[in-house]
């Protein structure tokens, strides 16, 4: 568990944020200029806030009230930067061993090297690596310093879409470790794929914080994510790969058919369903081309300034977010407690929106 409380003023901007990051991936989400990077820099010790208190697993690393400020190298907090920042004068293997070497610890890189698939790169120099390879090595280097918490500041931002898709699965694997990971991004896709906990920052303040399923399906958080990007994440287990190219997944609200998903039967996936791809119906629709009909109960409706309305649907413990027009919301009488059927086209879910649970 990473506990963070900070206050810092830069000119006219004031950062005033507190939250805690349990084991798993806590995504620090916000637009650029919302203070995300300042928060992680303060946690790492690279920025000294005007006032603050930071604890990792109960051990204080910063407490301005009692004048405690543990220097960067003694905090035991790993950091993966946006640019890999590998040491250019060392090979990949030397970069990986650096954290163990400076602390005079024997660390076996074998498992990490294998998990990140960087075995063939060990003798190369950073200049001879692609962007995606560099970032994987940087992740490995941070892990091999055996940190108690890991910070990742937009580690995929400098990569193209294909490279991002290559690396996301590696980061998903880190989520199972007991170590808290604080992951900064302004990409809703990355957040939906990775987050177990979400902290939404706006203007230096925490707008929303909580379990990913709750925050992502919260209509109040939509303005920060952007209407087109908004969408909830539901868990689903791969049930079967069917002959016509579809994969059947079982969710709390019934079966979900998606275009072939590359995952073994039994694997638990996280599927992001964009709010604008969901159609709502009061009665169970018949004679419809869309395959996925999920039954649920409306738990909240939020109407904004424009013609749209956001509807949060309780599928039975998990939530879906739908964006419909105010006119439709009124015509269907959508309000909390009303039961509805959510219709999702199979092909609306992109491969990049499916991650391992």
């Amino acid at each position: 568990m990473l506990e963070v409380a900070l206050r810092h003023r830069f000119g006219a901007f004031t950062l005033d944020a507190s939250f805690s990051a349990p084991a798993g991936v806590t995504v620090l989400f916000g637009r650029s200029g919302s203070g995300k990077t300042s928060v992680v820099n303060a946690v790492a010790g690279l920025l000294r806030p005007d006032a603050g208190r930071i604890a990792v697993d109960g051990r204080l690393v910063l407490d301005t009230a009692q004048g405690l400020d543990v220097p960067v190298h003694r905090r035991g907090i790993g950091y993966v930067f946006q640019e890999a920042r590998l040491f250019p004068h060392m090979t990949v293997a030397q970069n990986l061993r650096y954290g163990g070497w400076v602390r005079r610890r024997r660390v076996d890189p074998g498992a990490v090297v294998e998990m990140l698939g960087i075995g063939p790169l060990l003798e190369r120099r950073p200049a001879a690596l692609s962007g995606g390879e560099r970032q994987r090595v940087a992740i490995g280097r941070a892990l091999l310093a055996e940190p108690k918490a890991l910070l990742m500041d937009e580690p995929l931002a400098a990569l193209d879409e294909a490279r991002k898709a290559d690396i996301l699965p590696y980061i998903e694997r880190l989520r199972d470790a007991a170590m808290p990971i604080l992951y900064v991004t302004h990409s809703v896709t990355e957040m939906a794929r990775l987050a177990t906990t979400v902290v939404v920052l706006e203007g230096g303040r925490v707008l929303r914080a909580g379990p990913a399923g709750d925050v992502l399906s919260d209509p109040q958080a939509v303005p920060v994510m952007g209407l087109r990007e908004a969408g909830a994440v539901i868990a689903a287990r791969v049930a079967a790969h069917e002959a016509d190219g579809l994969t059947r997944l079982d969710s709390v609200a019934g079966p979900l058919w998606l275009p072939r998903v590359e995952a073994a039967v039994g694997a638990v996936l996280r599927v992001r369903i964009a709010a604008q791809d969901v159609i709502l119906s009061r009665s169970r629709p018949e004679g419809l081309s869309a395959l996925n009909v999920l039954g649920g109960v409306v738990s909240a409706v939020r109407t904004g300034e424009g013609p749209g309305a956001l509807v949060r649907i309780d599928l039975g413990g998990e939530f879906l977010l739908a964006r419909v027009t105010r006119r439709s919301a009124a015509a269907l009488g959508l309000e909390a407690g009303v039961s509805v059927h959510a219709v999702v086209k199979s092909v609306a879910v992109a491969q990049g929106d499916i991650g391992f649970g």
């Binding site: 790492a44 690279l46 190298h73 920042r85 004068h89 650096y98 400076v102």
Partner: protein
């Protein structure tokens, strides 16, 4: 070349070698302070370091004589406590050469340090390295060609130092008569021109060689920091 000429060349090499070696640790430290330090009086330090480059060398030599002469405040202490006398000794020539060469050395090393991305040093700190370890394992290897370039330049400058040396330690053959002092002395006597010319050629060769080496090394520091180097 005659014995007097060889003596001058040998003494110059000895003086330049010790001037370079002894001032190198201080040069690296000062260059690091100027490149990365954030402290009050940084501008003043920068000015003091560069002063010998701007002052007439004879003024620097005279200031050294005032401070480090037998009656000078520092010179008297050195004499009493350690029995070290600098004025009119070859050790004084080392001090004069080191002071005069210091700005060149610091400049070269400072440029190399400034070319190192501080983000790499931050990354090393997050991996558990203290500031000293970061300097030794990241900064120092990356600036090594810059350090060598600075040392080579300082060596060449020390070989040729004249004004401050002759003011501080005079021109005693076999004692303090370095290469430029010897050239000056040969030019003062009839038939000395041949010897002077031979020493001039040695000087030119040393200067050219040092410049060439420092150029090559300066290019390598760039390649290395950019991660293209194989060194």
């Amino acid at each position: 070349m005659g014995e007097a000429e060889w003596q001058a060349v040998r003494l110059s090499v000895l003086v330049a070698f010790w001037a370079t070696v002894l001032s190198l640790p201080l040069g690296i430290w000062v260059a690091h302070l100027l490149a990365r330090g954030r402290f009050y009086g940084r501008g003043l330090l920068n000015g003091v370091v560069h002063l010998p480059l701007i002052l007439p060398p004879v003024v620097t030599g005279y200031l050294l004589l005032l401070a480090f002469g037998r009656k000078g405040p520092v010179g008297a202490l050195l004499d009493q406590w350690f029995g070290v006398v600098l004025a009119f000794r070859w050790t004084g020539a080392v001090l004069a050469a080191a002071v005069m060469a210091f700005p060149l050395m610091v400049r070269a090393i400072r440029l190399a340090i400034e070319a190192v991305d501080p983000k790499l040093e931050q990354a090393a700190a997050t991996l558990g390295a203290s500031r000293l370890i970061v300097f030794v394992t990241v900064t120092l290897p990356l600036i090594l060609p810059g350090i060598i370039a600075g040392a080579v330049l300082a060596f060449a400058k020390a070989m040729g130092e004249f004004g401050a040396t002759i003011t501080f330690v005079a021109n005693i053959p076999g004692q303090t008569q370095t290469l430029p002092s010897a050239i000056y002395a040969f030019l003062q006597v009839p038939d000395g021109e041949g010897a002077a010319l031979r020493l001039v050629l040695v000087s030119v060769a040393v200067a050219m060689g040092a410049l060439a080496i420092s150029e090559v090394l300066a290019r390598r520091v760039q390649a290395r920091v950019a991660g293209r180097g194989d060194a």
